[in-house]
């Protein structure tokens, strides 16, 4: 299918482009980016006037819950939510049932996504067999069958020796380790960030150091072994500082943060709001400021939502019983555009964090509109106003702290391999 995307502001950091240009897509690939392009016969025109045209956005941390937990989300609804959020690619985390520790599950996911999904799904395999934290998974097989990274996300790898061996082994295989950095002995029965809010609400707190210690440990192991490591969902000022220092030293560490960590504090929990309960938990104002600064100065490479759908029965309970996690695919774009509006990031930097960097870190071969690239393209309407409601969300689950709120910004058109998979709200 051929497309001509006309008159949009094309922002492609991979080519240092930021200009009003047309983009021509032929046979699923970008063939030309230039001024006043002519539409070839049979090409559909997408009017991108007043909109941004960027390389298809990539969310490298998503829980699709399929196989095994389809009551929360599945590959079809999850990729639909992704496309609605402007994402052309997602990396799905392995804590499914069964978990992604063997080629059968990897193949299932890849094939189902190809057949019925609305975006690319790049599976992340497990670090340890069965996510047991006991011994390594067959990372070679996982990579060969299509995994782009390994992670035990949802859990840390507690045993430091095993983490060290995993980093070494993964480096040999050539696959990235994404670490869920959490020191469990400090977390205990905690349900929210430890601070004044937890004191006032009488809820057990999780101290920031539970994340900082684990981040430091993983970075030191990466440094010692010369292996790369990617730290997932950074939420604390301590983590940001540790990562910044490590990068300055030349350690091969990259990291991501989620929109809730740069927009919400633990005040959102007040009223015992289970849609503000996730792991790592929402932190305090100083942490939010540090996360924004980390995004601004390049310490934090990517924005990834940690989209974690949960059924109403799992969230509509007493606070301590509620499962951790919130959905994020459909609200990430407006919230992240907010960083541009507030001057934390330039638009180009934002697109780097949401497309180019995830692609480069995981070698996905995306994140660019260079001629010859696969035509994964997102057309963004930065002014589109819409309200987050259960009805307006494509995800099966509706566990979002932004329910009822008005968002500014949305995908006007999501194009996957040259095909329009989402045509605006």
């Amino acid at each position: 299918m051929n497309l001509l995307i006309k008159g949009g502001r094309v922002i492609d950091p991979s080519q240092n482009l930021d200009d009003t240009l047309d983009v021509l897509v032929e046979n699923g690939r970008v063939t030309q980016v230039g001024k006043q392009l002519a539409a070839p016969a049979g090409a559909e025109t997408v009017d991108a006037t007043g909109k941004y045209v960027v390389p298809g956005l990539i969310d490298m941390h998503v829980h699709l819950r399929d196989p095994g937990l389809e009551y929360k989300e599945d590959i079809i609804s999850g990729t639909r939510a992704a496309a609605a959020g402007g994402f052309t690619s997602v990396c799905c985390m392995p804590n499914t049932k069964p978990c992604i520790d063997n080629k059968a599950v990897v193949s299932y996911i890849i094939n189902k996504a190809k057949a019925e999904g609305c975006c690319n799904v790049f599976p992340v395999g497990t670090i340890t067999y069965g996510m047991s934290g006991d011994r390594m998974a067959e990372m070679g097989e996982l990579k060969e069958s299509g995994c782009v990274a390994v992670s035990d996300d949802g859990k840390p790898v507690c045993n430091s020796e095993l983490m060290m061996r995993s980093l070494q082994y993964a480096k040999g295989i050539g696959i990235m380790v994404i670490s869920h950095a959490e020191e469990l002995s400090l977390v205990g029965q905690g349900t929210m960030n430890e601070g004044f809010t937890s004191t006032e609400l009488g809820l057990k707190g999780i101290p920031r150091v539970a994340e900082d210690i684990a981040t430091a440990r993983d970075i030191m192991l990466a440094e010692y072994t010369g292996s790369p490591v990617h730290i997932a969902h950074v939420s604390t000022q301590g983590s940001v500082r540790i990562i910044r220092d490590a990068k300055a030293r030349g350690v091969k560490v990259t990291c991501e943060t989620a929109p809730h960590y740069f927009t919400l504090t633990d005040d959102a929990v007040r009223g015992y709001n289970t849609n503000a309960k996730m792991n790592p938990p929402l932190r305090e104002a100083a942490d939010v400021a540090a996360i924004q600064e980390g995004l601004r100065d390049g310490t934090i490479d990517c924005i990834a939502t940690d989209h974690a759908p949960h059924h109403q029965d799992e969230k509509d309970v007493e606070f301590a019983e509620a499962m951790n996690g919130i959905i994020g695919l459909e609200t990430s774009l407006p919230l992240s555009l907010g960083l541009v509006a507030s001057g934390v990031l330039t638009l180009q930097q934002l697109i780097e964090k949401m497309a180019c960097n995830p692609s480069n870190i995981l070698n996905l071969g995306r994140g660019s509109l260079k001629a010859g690239s696969v035509a994964d393209i997102t057309v963004i309407d930065p002014d589109k106003s819409w309200v987050v409601t259960e009805a307006s969300l494509a995800s099966k689950s509706k566990n979002s702290p932004w329910l009822g709120q008005t968002m500014k910004g949305a995908a006007a058109c999501t194009i996957l391999g040259g095909k329009i998979v989402f045509n605006g709200r």
């Binding site: 004044f196 015992y272 309970v317």
Partner: protein, 311 residues
């Protein structure tokens, strides 16, 4: 005449000074009923009160039950070990099922902070009274503690109240801090640093003291909290011997407080750990008066959430 406008009583944090004073003054009136031969008034006749206690309780549950019965209400007790909670029924479903039987008041104690707000949202026509939720609040305890102090000193304004123990896990401490600071007392906290929650000094006129000595020096009230062995892991303090050495109240250190100071404890007491028996049973102890006031305070709470029209 002040009015009590809340459907529920979940936290002293949610009440104003005037509302707290109203609950206390009504409790004083209720006390008179408790000293009669026939301890019964028809005030809540025909009302149904369900006592839903998910956690163990001696004082609070008995006290609420007696309070309800003295006001002529029909009281029902449900405890988890004999209910369908053992079959995994959720709080939400339990509440909806009870709602179908049209109770007027549910008095609940639950291990999870915030459960009462959760319940209240689902039961718009039923009053919810908090008999303790996790580490969040225990408003009836806070109120009866304040009433006991008011009995002795005639006021709460300007009192120096020391609270010593595991503040982090204490809903009693939180309710007392909220109520006392609203009514003009100053609160001094002491306890092992591992049991002192961050930011607690921001809750009001609260000072965190480095030592127990500092907190009880010249105090009008010394309130000791129980070391809650079932709530914390073994890592918060070496053992009870160390604890009682540095944070226990005994006949020697109780002298640091004012000569007419009151000694209080919400119960149950670990004799010899947070307080020596001499102090528990001594002249300065108001512990049993607290319990006595508990019934009156709970009668006041039940009365006011029902609209407070004394027959």
């Amino acid at each position: 005449m002040a009015e009590f406008k809340h459907k529920d009583i979940i936290a002293l944090r949610d009440l104003t000074k005037e509302e707290i004073e109203l609950l206390l003054s009504t409790a004083e009136n209720m006390r008179e009923i408790n000293s009669r031969d026939i301890k019964k008034v028809p005030t809540l006749r025909g009302r149904t009160i369900i006592n839903l206690f998910y956690e163990a309780s001696t004082r609070t549950r008995t006290s609420f039950e007696i309070a309800g019965k003295r006001l002529s209400a029909d009281t029902v007790n449900i405890s988890p070990s004999t209910s369908s909670a053992t079959k995994g029924e959720t709080l939400s479903d339990t509440a909806l099922n009870l709602l179908a039987m049209k109770p007027d008041i549910i008095v609940m104690r639950h291990a999870v902070s915030g459960s009462h707000y959760f319940l209240s949202k689902r039961l718009p026509n039923c009053s919810i009274i908090n008999a303790g939720d996790g580490a969040h609040e225990h408003p009836s305890q806070g109120l009866l503690d304040m009433l006991t102090m008011k009995d002795k000193f005639g006021r709460l304004d300007g009192l120096k109240v020391a609270i010593v123990g595991d503040i982090t896990h204490s809903r009693v401490a939180r309710s007392n801090i909220q109520g006392l600071t609203k009514l003009g007392s100053s609160v001094f906290l002491a306890g092992p640093p591992t049991m002192m929650p961050p930011g607690v000094e921001k809750l009001g006129n609260v000072t965190v003291c480095g030592t127990m000595k500092e907190a009880i020096q010249d105090a009008d009230v010394v309130m000791m909290l129980r070391i809650q062995q079932e709530r914390q892991g073994k890592t918060l303090m070496p053992n009870t011997r160390e604890y009682s050495r540095y944070f226990g109240l005994n006949p020697e250190n109780v002298k640091l407080a004012k000569p007419d100071a009151m000694v209080m404890h919400p119960g149950p007491i670990n004799r010899g750990v947070e307080m020596s028996s001499y102090v528990v049973d001594g002249d300065q102890s108001h512990i049993l008066r607290q319990v006595e006031n508990g019934v009156a305070v709970r009668m006041s709470m039940l009365y006011h959430v029902c609209g407070g029209e004394l027959e």
